[in-house]
Symmetry: C2
Subunit: 444 residues, 2 copies
């Protein structure tokens, strides 16, 4: 075992996980390193942020997914550096790990374009922690609004600004509007549906700008039908405790969420390979980096225009196909066979939901919208979740929510470390409530 | 509306929630105050701590539960004081609220018997946050053990000490042992089932000491069958970074959990009524406090031997019956009718699970154990959950886990504020992994 080539995969997202699975039964030993213990089904992350699904519905421990694959060892650890000359991965609190082949699949994170002071004022949505934190902020704003008698304050508390009109921003805005203007007010005595404002800001002339214009227009219409104020050509110039500025215009809002910039994980810069100004690694047609054919970069962290001239988008399908391709190259090398042809991205289509029963999708040149696109979206996402035991549970939940018009897990739990909404009253944290079970006497 | 008598209920646990519901359509206006937004089904909290259920499975927003009840206003706020003479409840950051009738139902919390420095070293299990924090510590210990080559350290990392042999301690120990010695090792390369030790410490001569001796013995046997080391007559004298001391004996353990002492919520002492040394309020036979017939204390915070001489235990049934009784008294007063007879606790039986297919139960004088008791436990708890939409989902999950022998939501998410295991390496917190969706360009 120890003399088999050692493949180290950093990151257990779509790219890393599918690479590992594509190396099943290959004569290599694999170490998959991730700082978290779970693979995250990120396309549904906005559902956790808007209280539709639980964290457990869209995440699964990596080692559980890979438990039957014998040649993989899963390590929960933090990678702090990569030495491509010594072929070693450095960990935060452990010995370095040597490799024969490296697949870097750490993905991307959001960027505030140099305005890092905005990160607390406008949290982004990349991890489960982000999602639970946004959910908490979203629900707490309603609780605070219910309490206050100050109308202006209530208005501000119930104003939700989402920055960035890409798929994440659109999905977040659509779902939040449905929650904020339809589902939630029914639970509150002092909040009417029209009290809540959801504003989607997009710098370019249209939302979902990578989609055809027609679909962008349909998405915007669907958002507006749900009460979202869609403002295109609107660039945020400042974010502060009272909301945002769009040039000179002040928008008062207690809740600002960031769905705009993306930058590569910092580990990408450790490789010495060329990167874009956002830190994405420019890879060769076979996904390796210059001078280091043993180092692959896959997924959102890689930037590539494929052999057919198609730009590979930062979506799950791109990561999956790249991960599988890197595994194929390693397989052929280990077997002493010729290298496979350069990577070609196979576009299986893309889709974004706007809310209940509304979505836009394109598959090849065909476009879909409305109900039918939404059903497609549902089917595809449930099929994707098929690796998870919980797909049945998610289906039942969605069916239930759909007919009861009641969303799922509206829990405000103690804040995760990291983000706290600086605009909300930080109190609320003292007494314990409602113990149902009690030892009758002390036993120690 | 405003001239109807105002009933303020503090706490949305079993006592407070059932009191509110029992006042449905009564000619009163009710304000239910809780610092959290959810009612918690606390009998299943240990399932969240041991990764069997998600927080969302056992909790539901209080205002959602009460949405159809017109005379209730739900307020998420923190109560910091009660002025029984002025009949006012003081909030942390809002005006005081006056009342005509007060139902205090804030429950109990755990106590370290004066050793408050133990609270970080041996977290207890009362809230969802506690449960998620214990789950994180439990799962992280396995991840750390998988990484280390030091056998003594691995042993220590995989030693789980549970202090207190009441229902919570027994359920926690049984489920943890099944997870630690059966389910989890299959996911790890370097951990064998026997590597994990689960030790249950109980000061008195037997576990579940409020149960008949026979059932205590059966519970202990069932625990031991699952690999739990049950040590009765064992009092912990010290807890530190390396584990615990039982008198002179050192037990090395990275994980120590507290299921022992219980004390009343501090608000109980604001009433000026007599309390036990653990802060439980000694209530009159009608659940009010001396000199203040308008102030009721119900649930775990109340201490009472009922009119038939039965001590009312701190369990869900006790809280529910007390809450409903207080509501009945208020109804009769408002209607100008005679007061109901003093409160009598109707013992519907009690039960504790030890793990898969094992439980002990007693209903009246009849005792049950093993498979049948476990099915009873399952049925009762699912029936209880019937107020929740998720009972179907929980049933499906349990059926699935039962047959797949795979537990549910084994997620290690960023730590909640509050508890961090001081014995584990605090690192592991830097890179973001596996982004599946990425805006292709910045839009701000």
């Amino acid at each position: 075992m120890a003399d088999k080539p050692h493949v180290v995969i950093i990151g257990g997202g779509f790219g890393g996980l599918y690479a590992a699975q594509a190396l099943n039964r290959a004569p290599v030993r694999i170490t998959l390193i991730d700082k978290s213990n779970h693979h995250l089904f990120q396309p549904l992350l906005y559902q956790v942020a808007t209280a539709g699904l639980s964290p457990g519905d869209i995440a699964e421990p990596i080692r559980t997914i890979l438990r039957h694959q014998r040649n993989v060892h899963v390590l929960m650890a933090e990678v702090i550096d990569i030495d491509v000359d010594a072929r070693q991965v450095h960990l935060a609190d452990d010995d370095p790990i040597g490799y024969d082949h490296l697949i870097l699949a750490t993905g991307a994170t959001h960027t505030y374009f140099g305005n890092d002071q905005w990160s607390d004022l406008a949290p982004g949505l990349k991890s489960l922690e982000n999602a639970v934190s946004i959910r908490k902020q979203f629900l707490t704003a309603f609780e605070e609004a219910e309490r206050t008698k100050d109308k202006a304050l209530r208005r501000k508390l119930l104003t939700f600004v989402i920055i960035g009109g890409g798929p994440t921003g659109v999905e977040l805005a659509g779902t939040m509007a449905e929650m904020a203007r339809q589902a939630l007010p029914r639970d509150f005595d002092n909040i009417a549906p029209d009290d809540a404002r959801v504003i989607l800001l997009e710098g370019s002339p249209r939302v979902l700008k990578v989609y055809p214009e027609e679909l962008s227009a349909k998405a915007q219409k669907a958002l507006e039908d749900r009460g979202v104020e869609v403002r295109t050509k609107s660039r945020v110039t400042e974010i502060d405790n009272d909301g945002v500025f769009i040039k000179e215009e002040r928008v008062e809002a207690a809740n600002v969420f960031w769905a705009a910039g993306v930058q590569g994980n910092p580990l990408g810069r450790c490789l010495g390979a060329p990167t874009t100004k956002r830190g994405l690694v420019k890879v060769n047609p076979d996904l390796t980096i210059p001078d280091h054919p043993e180092v692959f970069v896959v997924g959102d962290l890689a930037q590539l225009t494929d052999a057919e001239g198609k730009y590979v988008p930062g979506v799950a399908q791109g990561a999956i196909q790249m991960g599988q391709y890197a595994a194929r190259v390693i397989r052929s090398r280990v077997a002493g066979k010729a290298a496979p042809k350069p990577f070609v991205y196979k576009d299986k289509g893309s889709m974004a939901t706007i809310g209940r029963a509304a979505a836009v999708a394109m598959v090849g040149k065909r476009q879909f919208s409305g109900w039918f696109a939404w059903l497609m979206w549902l089917a595809v996402h449930l099929l994707f979740l098929i690796g998870f035991d919980n797909r049945l549970i998610v289906l039942i939940q969605w069916t239930w929510y759909y007919f009861s018009y009641k969303q799922g897990t509206r829990l405000i739990t103690a804040s995760y470390k990291g983000h706290e909404n600086p605009r909300l009253n930080p109190a609320m944290a003292a007494y314990e409530v409602g113990s149902a079970e009690q030892e009758t006497e002390a036993t120690v």
